[in-house]
């Protein structure tokens, strides 16, 4: 057991999302906290079972949208009022209804870019190396591989007991993951 700290964790691969969900429930029930699961497609409600709470993605999108809208609108107003005012037959310089359309497009653009890059940043992506890629049984190549990872820094981490537990839960492959 001395090499436990040198392991990233123990990975169990299941055939079905339902089996993975049962395993997650069992392990969370026993008090495991350092868990991660890997699925080929989103499984509804599984993240919440692993202790996920609402992310800050919506907030980032809102901020991006407001900043995008405001900056384009500000540019329009500043360019016609301050930087280069042109009086055309006494028409108002600040014709804001016409300014709404480019500003609207700017808001959409800001929100969308924040959606993509905010999601990637919160997920700590791009990250081309991750220990689970070392495990031969980990693969997103097929859509019938649902993996559960118990990380070795979990206080309850015990390889022998976990192996037995995973076998009882019907895992098709159990594997130690190198860091």
């Amino acid at each position: 057991m001395s090499d436990q700290q040198e392991q990233h964790g123990l990975l169990a691969v299941f055939d079905e999302p339902e089996a993975l969900e049962r395993a997650v429930e069992r392990l969370r029930g026993r008090g495991f906290t350092a868990l991660d699961a890997f699925t080929p497609f989103p499984v509804e409600g599984l993240a919440e079972k692993l202790g996920y709470r609402r992310s800050r993605v919506p907030l980032l999108v809102l901020i991006g949208g407001i900043v995008g809208f405001a900056s384009v609108f500000w540019l329009e107003a500043w360019s016609v009022l301050v930087n280069y005012p042109i009086n055309v037959g006494g028409r108002p310089l600040f014709s804001w209804p016409a300014f709404i359309i480019p500003a609207f497009e700017g808001g959409i653009l800001g929100g969308s870019l924040c959606g993509l890059f905010g999601m990637l940043a919160l997920n700590r992506l791009p990250k081309l190396y991750h220990p689970v890629f070392n495990a031969p049984s980990f693969s997103l190549a097929r859509d019938d591989r649902f993996a559960l990872l118990v990380m070795s820094h979990d206080p309850l981490y015990d390889r022998t007991k976990l192996r037995r537990l995973f076998r009882d839960l019907g895992a098709r492959a159990i594997e130690e993951v190198a860091p």
Partner: protein, 457 residues
């Protein structure tokens, strides 16, 4: 296999033959990662690539000789290039409708067709953005549309629809790219893990950004994906509305009409779904994807065409009615000249194609025959191009003063641009099929799982 199920009296589903897990990834990824492709794939690519070269040649010719090579002259300053812009942007709109609006409405049937529809949006919007620049006459000043803080040029005219148009198309292109790439990330990871050669593993691996399918990542991913879809929905409506403002804000009779924004959006969906079917029907039969792109998808696409086409037909009637009801002599004459003037043959072909196609589309038996739908889709593609041509050209041809009346016909450079851009578009679609997953693997796998869970007691 699919016919077995229907023989049991079951309606065509979204995924047929209940493929087991793992099969779908193999089937979809095999189209791109498999080593063998049918010979007609290369023949088709060669044909469209030659047309793309025609586009390159026509553009070079236009830039080298000048704007006089196109059928454009005052008063007909807008012609084929603007027609092409409006047509191509409209084709792109169906992609966004499928990917964003149907996602928000939880229409599961979008899953098999959204990826190539999004790619279609991207390619169509890119091509559309070229034409306004090409027809400028002095295209090297195109960057004056950008709000650049430099002393040698003024700020853009913020009150002009042409500036709005630039912002709308540029945003549309960027957001389409964001949405498309976001949807690709998990599938690129599947490709990375399936790829056999080192080169493919590196390229797909870098593009997948290290996606590992963690459920925490999926949760944030889905939040972001739905939010971008929610932003793309008003965007898509705004883009063709803004394009229609290029026309309606002008006082030219035939342009100056309040029905244009909704009419343009409906027309965009009509032509866009026609293009979706133009691609989907050969695609599913060429790569044996009949169990993923089922008759249900084609039927639903045809129904969207029926609905949007009916709105287009209403707009034709409404336009004519308001020309008469306005009591404005010039407006009335512009409408009359459209139907009985120099562009009458084009007008009646357009009416026959766009309204005539609605008749067969209303029959379920027709909507279930893929190749009949394909033929109708081609007719609608043609009809919608003619519609844009009629709006752009016939209105300018009959302005207020008879002394400014003129007509024009497309030159060979115009035709080179039209057919060349079609070639470029389809050559890009062929490359997409070769290089990227053309069906969203993870969404189809999720759908297959849900259907299996429902089937189980």
């Amino acid at each position: 296999m699919a016919s077995d199920i229907r023989a049991d009296g079951e309606a065509a589903g979204l995924i047929e033959g209940r493929p087991s897990y793992g099969d779908l990834s193999r089937e979809i990824a095999g189209v791109s990662l498999g080593t063998r492709r049918p010979r007609f794939f290369w023949l088709g690519f060669a044909f469209f690539f030659l047309l793309a070269l025609l586009f390159l040649f026509s553009v070079t010719w236009l830039l080298a000789i000048g704007i006089g090579t196109l059928g454009l002259n005052i008063p007909l300053a807008w012609g084929v290039p603007i027609t092409n812009t409006v047509w191509w942007i409209g084709i792109g709109h169906a992609g966004t409708l499928i990917s964003a609006i149907l996602l928000l409405l939880r229409q599961k049937w979008r899953n098999s067709i959204n990826r190539f529809a999004e790619a279609m949006t991207l390619f169509a919007a890119s091509i559309a953005g070229l034409f306004p620049i090409l027809h400028l006459g002095r295209p090297w000043f195109a960057y004056w549309l950008l709000p650049l803080p430099v002393t040698h040029m003024p700020w853009p005219q913020w009150r002009s629809p042409l500036t709005w148009d630039f912002f709308a198309i540029a945003t549309y292109l960027t957001v389409s790219l964001v949405f498309w790439y976001m949807g690709l990330i998990p599938d690129l990871a599947t490709f990375r893990d399936r790829a056999k050669s080192r080169g493919q593993q590196i390229v797909y691996g870098v593009l997948a950004l290290g996606w590992r399918g963690s459920v925490f990542h999926w949760a944030r991913y889905e939040e972001a994906y739905y939010l971008v879809a929610a932003l793309a929905t008003p965007l898509v409506v705004s883009v063709h509305s803004v394009i229609s403002l290029d026309f309606t804000v002008a006082i030219t009779p035939g342009y100056h009409s309040t029905i244009f924004p909704p009419y343009f959006v409906a027309g965009a969906l009509y032509s866009g779904f026609a293009m979706v079917l133009t691609i989907a029907v050969p695609l599913r039969s060429a790569f044996r994807l009949e169990n993923v792109i089922t008759e249900k998808h084609l039927d639903n696409g045809a129904k969207v065409m029926l609905a949007s086409g009916a709105i287009v037909a209403y707009a034709y009637v409404n336009e004519a009615f308001y020309a008469w009801y306005s009591g404005d002599e010039v407006h009335r004459y512009a409408m009359w000249a459209r139907a009985f003037g120099p562009y009458a043959p084009t007008f009646w072909v357009m009416i026959a194609a766009n309204i005539g196609s609605l008749v067969p589309l209303s029959f379920g038996a027709v909507r279930r025959r893929p190749w009949v739908l394909f033929a109708i889709a081609l007719v609608i593609n043609l009809g919608m191009w003619l519609e844009r041509y009629i709006i752009v050209v016939s209105s300018l041809a009959r302005d207020y003063l008879p002394s400014t009346w003129d007509t024009t016909t497309p030159t060979w450079t115009d035709y080179g641009l039209i057919f060349g851009s079609i070639g470029l578009f389809f050559a890009l679609m062929f490359l997409l099929v070769r290089l990227l997953p053309l069906i969203t693997i993870y969404e189809v796998a999720e759908l297959a799982h849900e259907e299996e869970a429902e089937a189980a007691p």
